[in-house]
């Protein structure tokens, strides 16, 4: 049997046009290097080593970011223009830019590495103490944390329900679910950065400077809070696209990717809740 070439045996694939400016871009490397320089600068500043060098390093990071944004914004109008117009019913979008499930798996893997490192640091510090939280650390009131947990559970259930409705073509229920998830999600950082942190810091209950417990508490909850904010931004974008009719029973990869990220953020919160609030009550 004659073996055909790929071109003969495979069905014709639609030609994918990759914009010129995305090919061989130096920005990812530059931003990565600038981030390293900025972190070194932060180290210099916090350790009061060479203040001028620290400031210059931070400024160089800012300059790279400004340069990146300046070069990118000129492409945003066309990118958004192509991405957001109302599509005809049952339009199936192609994979953008690659299979979204692979993309989200890579994102979750990198997040796992980040939080794995952060929790590794937490346990490494914790093991240095005969008991934890260390003497003098406060017993944290978990009232707000319980509300935040309830918010995340409700939002996870709601977004699963919304995706379920979308797969069955019920657009109104899907939109209601996804908007509800966004509202619930946005309550989380409001409670954290608007109530809990100011309450702890301004009443001198716990600050980043109050020993290892305070430092790890604000670092871990801060990293997590930043991820929640990113999740809320992703949901706002998902909402906009939902109301433009861009999702259908056949095209829901982005919604599922966003919800997967959200669930991951949720599971990290459960670990934080167990370690930071419930763990801090053991002395009580």
């Amino acid at each position: 049997m004659k073996m055909g070439t790929d071109a003969e045996t495979l069905p014709a694939q639609p030609e994918v046009h990759v914009p010129e400016y995305l090919e061989h871009s130096a920005w990812p490397v530059l931003i990565a290097l600038a981030t390293g320089v900025a972190l070194t600068g932060l180290f210099f500043l916090f350790k009061h080593l060479v203040l001028l060098a620290g400031i210059l390093m931070m400024l160089s990071f800012g300059a790279v970011l400004v340069g990146f944004l300046y070069s990118e914004t000129k492409n945003w109008a066309s990118a958004v223009g192509k991405s957001l117009p109302r599509l005809p019913r049952d339009t199936v979008l192609g994979p953008f830019p690659v299979d979204i499930s692979l993309t989200i798996q890579i994102i979750i893997l990198t997040e796992l590495l980040l939080f794995g490192g952060a929790f590794g640091m937490y346990f490494a510090i914790r093991l240095q103490f005969p008991f934890w939280p260390p003497a003098g650390a406060p017993i944290l009131d978990d009232f707000i944390a319980r509300i935040q947990t309830l918010i995340l559970i409700s939002s996870s259930v709601l977004v699963e329900w919304a995706v379920w409705q979308l797969k069955r073509g019920r657009q109104r229920a899907f939109k209601a679910g996804i908007v509800g998830t966004t509202i619930l999600g946005s309550l989380f950082p409001i409670l954290q950065f608007g109530f809990e942190w100011p309450h702890l810091i301004f009443n001198n209950i716990l600050t980043p400077a109050s020993g290892f417990f305070g430092a790890t508490f604000f670092l871990l909850t801060g990293i997590h809070g930043a991820h929640v904010v990113a999740g809320v931004i992703a949901y706002v974008y998902t909402d906009i696209r939902a109301f433009m009719g861009q999702y259908s029973p056949k095209n829901h990869g982005f919604v599922e990717a966003t919800s997967t990220y959200w669930h991951f953020v949720h599971i990290i919160w459960l670990v934080l809740f167990a370690l930071m609030w419930q763990g801090s009550r053991l002395l009580g």
Partner: protein, 166 residues
């Protein structure tokens, strides 16, 4: 839904997995135990029977939930083995669902309460007889409450959901 017997999890199962993790962990850490006569009913144990509907994501979710809940309580290192025994019990519920979910639930109660009968005297110096009696009754009530909810859901809501899927 747990239609096929497979250990392979897909990305779309992640939501179910996390929701069950949250129900166990938050139900144990964030909510108090329900007092019923002389017994303390742990809310986190109630959804065990739902493994028969939601399948392996629920098995892994409840197991991870127990692991996370154990992070937040002062427990002896040997208590960290508890999720392993729960996992075995939940697997039995999952594989027994085609014959009898109730039998699976009772097996789960027996396995977990036997483990607690061994564990509680070590971790909190409770006499073994008392620990065994208390553990069995606590687990039994919690799981049976969940089983009743499971029967209600599987006879009322599940047929509607399956009809909507078809």
């Amino acid at each position: 839904m747990a239609g096929e017997s497979t250990l392979r999890l897909k990305l779309e199962d992640f939501g179910t997995f996390v929701i069950f993790t949250a129900i166990y962990a938050a139900g144990t850490l964030g909510l108090p135990k329900i007092p019923l006569l002389a017994y303390q009913i742990k809310i986190g144990e109630m959804p065990s029977a739902f493994v028969a509907i939601f399948g392996m994501p629920a098995v892994f979710g409840l197991t991870l939930g127990q692991f996370i809940a154990n992070l937040g309580v002062e427990a002896s290192p040997i208590a960290s083995l508890s999720p392993l025994f729960s996992f075995i019990g939940l697997l039995i519920i999952y594989y027994a669902r085609k014959f009898s979910t109730l039998a699976g639930c009772i097996a789960y109660v027996i396995i977990t309460s036997l483990w607690l009968t061994f564990l509680l005297p070590i971790s909190s110096s409770i006499p073994m007889t008392e620990a065994g009696y208390s553990a069995f009754i606590d687990q039994f009530i919690a799981v049976i409450i969940g089983y009743c909810a499971y029967v209600l859901v599987s006879r009322t809501m599940l047929p509607k959901a399956q009809a909507a899927s078809n």
